[in-house]
Point group: D2
Chain length 362, copies 4
Amino acid sequence: MSKERFEELRSQLDEVNLEILEVLNRRAELVSEIGLLKSGKGTERFDPIREKEMLDKVVGANKGPFPDDTIRHLFKQIFQASLGLQEEEKKSLLISRKNKSQDTVVQVGPLTVGGGAPVIISGPCSVETEGQMEAVASHLKGEGILLLRGGAYKPRTSPYDFQGLGKEGLKILSETAKRHGMVCVSEIVAPEDVEMACEYIDVIQIGARNMQNFELLKAAGSVRKPVLLKRGLSATIEELLYAAEYIASRGNDQIILCERGIRTYEKATRNTLDISAVPILKQETHLPVVVDVSHSTGRKDIMLPIAKAAIAVGADGLIVETHNEPAVALSDAKQQLDLQQFSTLMNQLRQSGFLKDAVQAK
Amino acid sequence: MSKERFEELRSQLDEVNLEILEVLNRRAELVSEIGLLKSGKGTERFDPIREKEMLDKVVGANKGPFPDDTIRHLFKQIFQASLGLQEEEKKSLLISRKNKSQDTVVQVGPLTVGGGAPVIISGPCSVETEGQMEAVASHLKGEGILLLRGGAYKPRTSPYDFQGLGKEGLKILSETAKRHGMVCVSEIVAPEDVEMACEYIDVIQIGARNMQNFELLKAAGSVRKPVLLKRGLSATIEELLYAAEYIASRGNDQIILCERGIRTYEKATRNTLDISAVPILKQETHLPVVVDVSHSTGRKDIMLPIAKAAIAVGADGLIVETHNEPAVALSDAKQQLDLQQFSTLMNQLRQSGFLKDAVQAK
Amino acid sequence: MSKERFEELRSQLDEVNLEILEVLNRRAELVSEIGLLKSGKGTERFDPIREKEMLDKVVGANKGPFPDDTIRHLFKQIFQASLGLQEEEKKSLLISRKNKSQDTVVQVGPLTVGGGAPVIISGPCSVETEGQMEAVASHLKGEGILLLRGGAYKPRTSPYDFQGLGKEGLKILSETAKRHGMVCVSEIVAPEDVEMACEYIDVIQIGARNMQNFELLKAAGSVRKPVLLKRGLSATIEELLYAAEYIASRGNDQIILCERGIRTYEKATRNTLDISAVPILKQETHLPVVVDVSHSTGRKDIMLPIAKAAIAVGADGLIVETHNEPAVALSDAKQQLDLQQFSTLMNQLRQSGFLKDAVQAK
Amino acid sequence: MSKERFEELRSQLDEVNLEILEVLNRRAELVSEIGLLKSGKGTERFDPIREKEMLDKVVGANKGPFPDDTIRHLFKQIFQASLGLQEEEKKSLLISRKNKSQDTVVQVGPLTVGGGAPVIISGPCSVETEGQMEAVASHLKGEGILLLRGGAYKPRTSPYDFQGLGKEGLKILSETAKRHGMVCVSEIVAPEDVEMACEYIDVIQIGARNMQNFELLKAAGSVRKPVLLKRGLSATIEELLYAAEYIASRGNDQIILCERGIRTYEKATRNTLDISAVPILKQETHLPVVVDVSHSTGRKDIMLPIAKAAIAVGADGLIVETHNEPAVALSDAKQQLDLQQFSTLMNQLRQSGFLKDAVQAK
């Protein structure tokens, strides 16, 4: 008999479920209508005072068996879902896949980043001298590399460390790249330098320490140059997406995201490369994603397998720091490859089939 | 006019909210009744197949405006809330404050831990020799300390490091404590040693590396000795609570929790003392909570302020490692206080009023 | 006989140790002399090329038994020690205790921060309206609080969240503070706003996300207003010290450091308060250190014990977020105390003796 | 003239460097001789008391310019280097590459792990019923999989969660595997179960929570079955190596290491896959290394790219959780692939060339 009662209760439960469904959707329609009226009036979509009022009424009327806390929790979920509805009627994040299913392809001079074969971005940590840049660039070009990197403004932990050559560094970088038919990328750290930098460089890099320097993000969003945005030292994937949205929301959708390792307890590597971030970012957004294999590991001895993994996981490019004389580099001496090591890395990647479609000069 | 329509919609929304409340509570009653029938039959409370069936029916009937995903999400919340209801009808965790509002006071010989003044637990990292234990214990007793610690089974990262004296160490510890009218605590690492250890020691310690060694937890739950359970190296507060529940669920509710620092990126201290864990644990559970100020920081030079903070935050006791000759200790040489430093620490705590009510021998 | 040989070898070892000592110090003298010559010429103290040459010569001459790697490692240690020597002859960090043993006392209007009793800094997360600020400030003043906080430029994860009232917010904050004879602090996020902000506020706050925004640090170092520098979300203690040095090196030594919790795996609190950072910072530097008890935990329910711990550990002040209507706050609604809760917290701190010497209006 | 003096000082520095080299090596020879005498007598190689004596003598004789602290630091480095010398004369870790340059190949029935093509280890999180195991195993065998996994002893956070079928589960797993000509692996959690388990299973798994359960490691080291050792939730690479050494030091060198993600602040994935650990482990040790792609990410939607990355980085195998009905699984329901999804994954890996050499049944 309890079996029969059991079945009866179950079928009642199914009916109640449908009742809940009906009334939830009825509520959603009301909220939509209210939202339309509000958006006409420019009222804020989220209204915490009104929400509190509604909650108080509902909880005031609650007689159980659900405790008040549970009712409060469930209604907050319902409010949020309704809000999501209003949201969706407007728009989701500009950078999200939902908003645009097709891959964004960032065009940098002759080079395309995203949607195709991986690109290699290389060069020294810091621009130091013309001779150094010439040595590196001519070697890289010989390996078919088109995108030259080099830091002119160096955000350094200590104020007494080498801070970069500044504008002079940008000029050296720019002239070297032009001489070799290459394009170039460099980090900019002050909002007011962004416009000036556009005269010299082809891609503006926003570094890990500045990922949530929102003034800088806005400045980068206001120009029409591609932006290479690095994930913060301990930024979540979600925070990186919102940082990119700051740029996109100002009108610049030429954004390249960069996974460069996160800060964890493990000290065998300089940072912990969060390889899973690459496919997650590529699912969540339509932007290209590159991996900085130098900063993420800080170890030359595992660069080859890590580069393979980054390409295998779907990265649209790699950043590899290269220096003509790493031992005497003014920054990051330990992790930069010398020119011969760089050629070896490229050869090994090519031979194992990881660069077969890579975008390179012929 | 839109203003009137707005008010009208708002009042409709309030009504719909109450409808939802009514049907949710109606559902909750059905679920309760089903739960009672089920518990009579010993059926698992959580039934994922049945849940999937219900969800499929509801989503199948959904005509919007809520998208199917949102409906699925909201119903999962409702199912979970209903489950919570069934849960509450049974019982919450044995160790939870909800289950017992009064502080548990753990009695260890002449000493009470919890519900009153803080206790000091001290002694060397490892039991090394009779002479060493005698030197430490007599000094500690002179300072009014009643609970002597000393490791006999040392879980060491390397198999080639000193592994402790084993049963011989327990004997030395036990005899030293008895000679001075003290009680003692030592870490046990193998389930089969728990019973044997009860002959020698007054409190069984389960170390950080073994916090989720569930066989050991069960063994400790099966005896009638107090257990000092240390938080795992990167255990969440919730995991620590469940680890304690493993012990309690076997019938032993004489449990002392220990915060001993967690593993983070910061290396200025050996671990990062999660001081907030103390009041959270004391809210969530009725068990006493002590702080290991030696392992959490690994630094003698900040032991005094950290000890003050631990007492101020509400800890029921402190663990302080002390050695007669720290420089030559067989383990943790850097973080153990020498006897004079220990006395200084006690004096400073007393003088600043932090130990005024501390449980100590007169 | 082997015993005799053993003793003989040991005494030879002692002699060799002294030989090493002698030659190391002889080397140190040479390096010092070279350093003096160099500093006259403005040459960089660290010369990696020269270092490489020296290493190559030494390793080239090595015949063992030490393997080349070990020799390389030992000489790098010796080079570094010699460098440290040159360093010390110049100066250590401006903010370090070594450089100045006495506590820095930051004067903010009628208030002193550091070197004495703890100060309480309070106010809402964001400045929203004049009415809100008036309600909060008059209540705080009634509790004896002199330092009013309120955010006008809000660094928010999403570009679509409330970004603060900007300059208008600074004005409201400033006027409210003046009306009540209070002083005020607010976060500035753009280097070019620092000077303007000095007209309105008494302390410039640099937030966690901007701790390594070096351009902002330099701007803050160039004015003559106290700076409240918050530790970055996952900054090390060392990085925080260097960030402060950026400010000090520009001539502004009125710096208050702020521990506000770090990012870890534990999600029971918003961040993990690194309480050990307070005494370590106070050892390493002469600057005052305050604790933000609101951001570090993100939980009102443990604010009292955490506030006690922060004072007990030696903090020079607390930051406590307070709002007249937290439930409807435009940011951080969950963690702000309402006015009554704030008074209760103050009373409890006073009654338990934790604020007996606190700096407050009478 | 200062230029000449500069050159003169530099050449003196080079000479002093060679003097230091000479005396360091002379010291090393003495230490070696002492070490030989000692090892004959069975004395502990590391003698902290003697070290302290030597340091005191040296520091007592120090007249600068090096401060005592620096001298103490440099001599500790020298002592450690000398110790390293004694060490090397004996042996390095059994599991280290230095000790054995050739890859260890673990033979499991018809299967070899390490030194060749990657193996796929698959099956459900928990052994639940014979029917379930049969459904999964026959499907896997159809895909060429030879190594079947399934948990019989489940270390669960809560004592009230499904704890596994125990010995009964091992039997079901074992019989299912035999029926299909497969071999099997299962986690053992109690030292006393290791021997019993050897009757049923072909590989003993030691889970993440037990990586530093040293008693269990010793038990696994005492049998002659391959051991699959998973990295702890927040274990360092070094700790994993030492955990493996515990097994090897007891005589069992058939060890497979497993990277399964580490605990970090990022919650987009269940754990953060530390992909760099794979090449580092393969450099440091001769043991095979596999990657658990299910536990590391906890997300089905990125399993394909992560599997590719794991193979590209050099893993010797993958662990992929598979269930015939994941939605109703008794544990880890969200991360297990269903049978069709598993086939799709295999096909995609094969088609993209990532499994061309994989060890599989024909």
